[in-house]
Symmetry: C2
Subunit: 233 residues, 2 copies
């Protein structure tokens, strides 16, 4: 039996995929999974994704750092928003974070039927690919997309990860993602900047975030989802 | 005001798009829209897409040629299946066809909120692009896909059509489709043969159909949907 890799281009297509007995790689490059990876590598103890602002506020009462955004902007009541730079605060080392975002945390929710959930980012692309290869299970890459639509940056990550996995490519969306990566492999940042989300973030003056989210292999750590929280392994 | 072009990669994502005041280009390269174009160019009077086998049989009682497939294979009660070669029968000239297929006819149904519906195929790619350019309305390309999932051949057509339209590209799925075309423009047939649907059809021994469906610009006719039927204009 050989392992397979498939891509779900948006959570709105999750009903087309069988998660059973597979490892789901959830990806929201701009910016949720990038933030999660950045924070956990920097020393945050755990990151708990929650679906609603209310849940996040409740975690805040229990001492969690409250993080997240709606429509790309920080919520007033929260401690931090959804910029990866906000996650490297020395005060956060050893602390727990609760996060809610427009796309990324919803995607993790939809991945819950999988045997294991991994949070993917360009920051730890190769480490994640190596972990998945060693694990030896079939993979579904679940792109968070933008409000249910496919997006450039998550599809690009899917293609980049596929490129590193010695697995059988299942479904046409896998070929589409891999081809997209192959066409743009010499300038991932260039095409990522053309995404609608990148342009929305640039409109808020957040250009450094985009460039940071496209950094490749800064970290060797793998982030997995266990007991409703993300941790570094 | 400039015109825009957007792509809906599968009918399962149609809720993400506003059809209002736009021209929808429905595409099911393997093989429904290719058959429709082929038949109408050859002399069929009209092609009426219907959702169910029962509806198709009812049209048959009214003298229509009954056409279509389920799961890629002809239905026993029908006159013809879903191969473009079956549509060039001299007996069919001037006659009406009713057709039901797994993906293509369902996609046309979902496009009905649009101001106008055009059936797209590689056979009349440039004619369709010229018509749309002249028309001067915003466009949504609706890929029929495979049972609700994105597919290679329809995405490739979307990218090919986008490439010929002097319109503003809206949404990341438009960039994804256009990039996919640009990567494979020197060998469209090669990548089309890798699609899951092409491999299923090859399994039925239908290799000529695939090659025929990828022929470009054999015809200069445009096919539109009017009063529930497709006609040549």
């Amino acid at each position: 039996v050989k392992n397979t890799v498939e891509v779900c281009l948006t959570p709105d297509l999750i009903h087309q995929h069988d998660l059973n007995n597979k490892v789901a790689v959830v990806v929201d490059i701009f910016r949720a999974t990038t933030c999660m990876v950045r924070g956990l590598v920097y020393g945050v103890k755990s990151v708990t994704p929650v679906a609603t602002v209310e849940e996040c506020l409740n975690y805040g009462k229990q001492g969690y750092i409250m993080a997240g955004e709606r429509g790309g902007q920080k919520l007033e009541e929260f401690d931090i928003g959804n910029s990866p730079f906000e996650y490297e605060n020395p005060d956060f080392i050893g602390r727990k974070v609760a996060i809610t975002t427009t796309n990324g945390t919803q995607a993790i929710e939809k991945a819950k039927g999988a045997e294991e959930i991994v949070a993917g980012s360009f920051l730890n692309l190769t480490a994640t690919a190596d972990y998945l290869t060693q694990k030896g299970k079939s993979i579904i890459i679940l792109c968070a997309g933008w409000k249910g639509t496919p997006n450039i940056e998550d599809t690009l990550f899917a293609g980049s990860l596929i490129h590193k996995l010695p697995f059988i490519q299942m479904r046409d969306s896998t070929t589409l993602s891999h081809s997209f990566y192959l066409r743009h492999q010499k300038d991932l940042l260039g095409i990522a900047k053309q995404s609608g989300h990148a342009r929305r973030l640039a409109g808020f003056g957040i250009v450094e975030d985009i460039e940071y989210c496209m950094r490749i292999d800064d970290f060797q750590d793998v982030i997995i989802f266990q007991k409703n929280t993300l941790i570094k392994i």
